[in-house]
């Protein structure tokens, strides 16, 4: 890939400042059959999430008498990248992401209310441009709320990283692949607990502090967008079918 000047005169290669997020658009309730759903655009990321449940847990031996089981499947579509056509089905990467995203929501969902049940979260990345796991968490949170599943909190996530020795927020694919570090962070909105944290690359402690600072500010903004998306659906009576507005 062509090398680009990632950071120059206080601006990033796409013209953003260090603390500037890409454009984020969230729409709740975009599918008709799913109990809850959301569509999210985050820069060039396009992600759709469908939630089913609480429903009977199949296979039964996975069910727990103490609370609902949260199943999450994160999936990249084969046409999601600018590069070659990919393979469909789970990869090692998507299996890992499914697990950590599922764990985020195991934390906030009031699982004890639904013993022996399952709650399914399906995340499909239609187009990926860096930061899809964070976008997935942010969208899934809206979809779960849309499904009316009781949660202690809303969750939003954002990536922080380092390019050209500068800590920046919300890395896109180019910055992610050519930069020095990338760190995905998911916060619970209410108490700012960290529910997901994955880092790759080299960052000092000071860098991490700066990263958390930037991420906290962005998280507030994302939470606001999530709430607005839900209000858009539930403040008015919506007639007609739900639809994905890509």
């Amino acid at each position: 890939m062509e090398e680009v000047e990632l950071f120059k005169n206080g601006k990033r290669y796409d013209g953003r400042t260090v603390e500037e997020l890409r454009h984020v658009k969230i729409k709740a309730h975009v599918l008709n059959d799913a109990d809850g759903s959301a569509y999210l655009e985050w820069g060039n990321n396009k992600i759709i999430v469908g939630v089913y449940g609480p429903k009977e847990c199949i296979p039964r031996h996975l069910a727990s008498p103490y609370g609902a089981v949260v199943k999450c499947i994160y999936n990249m579509s084969p046409f999601s990248s600018l590069g070659e056509h990919g393979r469909s089905g789970p990869s090692r990467r998507s299996r890992e992401l499914s697990m950590v995203i599922g764990q985020v929501f195991e934390n906030v969902i009031e699982r004890e209310k639904f013993p022996k049940a399952a709650i399914e979260i399906f995340v499909d990345v239609l187009q990926g441009d860096g930061g899809t796991r964070c976008a997935a968490v942010t969208a899934a949170s809206v979809a779960l709320a849309d499904a009316g599943i009781p949660m202690k909190d809303m969750v939003s996530a954002v990536a922080v990283g380092k390019v050209k020795d500068t800590v920046v927020i919300d890395l896109d694919y180019v910055e992610d692949s050519q930069g020095q570090a990338d760190c995905a962070i998911a916060f619970a909105n209410r108490n700012k607990e960290v529910l997901l944290l994955q880092m790759e690359g080299e960052m000092s402690k000071e860098d991490m502090q700066k990263a958390f600072e930037l991420a906290s500010i962005a998280q507030e903004r994302l939470h606001q967008l999530q709430v607005e998306a839900l209000k858009e659906v539930y403040m008015h009576i919506n007639e007609g079918d739900a639809f994905v507005d890509i």
């Binding site: 890939m1 599918l31 008709n32 059959d33 799913a34 759903s37 060039n44 396009k46 759709i48 999430v49 469908g50 089913y52 429903k55 499947i73 999936n75 579509s77 084969p78 046409f79 999601s80 990248s81 600018l82 590069g83 070659e84 056509h85 469909s88 089905g89 399914e120 399906f122 499909d124 239609l126 187009q127 441009d129 079918d241 739900a242 639809f243 994905v244 890509i246």
Partner: protein
């Protein structure tokens, strides 16, 4: 679920025998259809189609590959369909189901049999040809995925760009002209419930149907593909009736994709 399905089946069948449909349509009307082209930036072509509550996305990717040994001067066309678990409680994660394979094959057959794409033009150089991937992604399932997928594939192909080639390699994100299309195809699906024929069955009607037939129609009202499904049967009269209706409906659908 089985009891519920049986009840739905009974309700649909008694409705249809009384000359009604679950959503008050007449027997040969499609639900509202919307087509939106160019919805993704990273794929060469894309479209999102809604037929009633069904939502189907189709994305076209173009790559470089080796030709088949018996067709060295022809490009390759591959179609796949995924019934994503988020689309319906009926779909589970895992390898493609029979239903998904059938859907992909019907879409593929339509495009291939109508000879929409001139595969000879996909030749690049010796042992190097373009591969056109047609990916059908079902996002919301309320019946008649075949027509929705067929429309989405056709609309996506119509807005497909050709990648730029330099030194025998694709230059990512740069394009040169559009994919040449010789014709177009529309598919029309009819369900048979009891002795009644219905176009564009919704999911409940699909549960109540005994048989289903899909017709692929291309330019000059040529039939290019047919697929029958189910244990029920069609009489010859019925088949010719649906062919005539499909010819009429083709105009409606063609306008929708051409003007999208």
């Amino acid at each position: 679920m089985e009891i519920l399905d049986q009840l739905k089946r009974d309700t649909i069948q008694s409705l249809v025998s009384a000359g009604k449909r679950a959503d008050d349509r007449d027997n040969f009307s499609y639900r509202d259809i919307s087509v939106k082209k160019n919805i993704l930036e990273y794929s060469e072509g894309s479209a999102l189609v809604r037929v009633g509550k069904s939502q189907v996305l189709c994305a076209i990717k173009i790559g470089i590959g080796e030709p088949f040994p018996d067709r060295l001067d022809e490009g390759i066309l591959t179609t796949s369909a995924e019934l994503m678990p988020l689309a319906s409680y009926l779909f589970d994660p895992g390898p493609p189901s029979d239903e998904a394979i059938e859907l992909a094959r019907i879409v593929d057959r339509g495009v291939r049999a109508a000879e929409i794409i001139d595969v000879k033009k996909l030749y690049i150089s010796e042992n190097k040809v373009f591969v056109v991937y047609i990916d059908v992604y079902v996002m919301d399932h309320d019946g008649n995925l075949i027509d929705a997928a067929g429309l989405a594939a056709m609309a996506a192909l119509q807005c497909t760009r050709m990648p730029k080639i330099e030194n025998g390699q694709i230059v990512k994100g740069e394009y040169e002209g559009k994919l040449d299309l010789l014709k177009d195809v529309t598919t029309h699906t009819f369900a048979k419930v009891g002795n009644t024929l219905l176009i564009d069955p919704c999911l409940d009607e699909e549960k109540g149907m005994d048989a289903r037939v899909t017709l692929g129609i291309t330019d000059k009202n040529t039939i290019c593909a047919i697929q029958k499904w189910g244990s029920g049967s069609f009489s010859q009269d019925e088949l010719f009736q649906v062919i005539d209706i499909a010819f009429k409906k083709r105009k409606e659908l063609k306008e929708l994709i051409d003007n999208a």
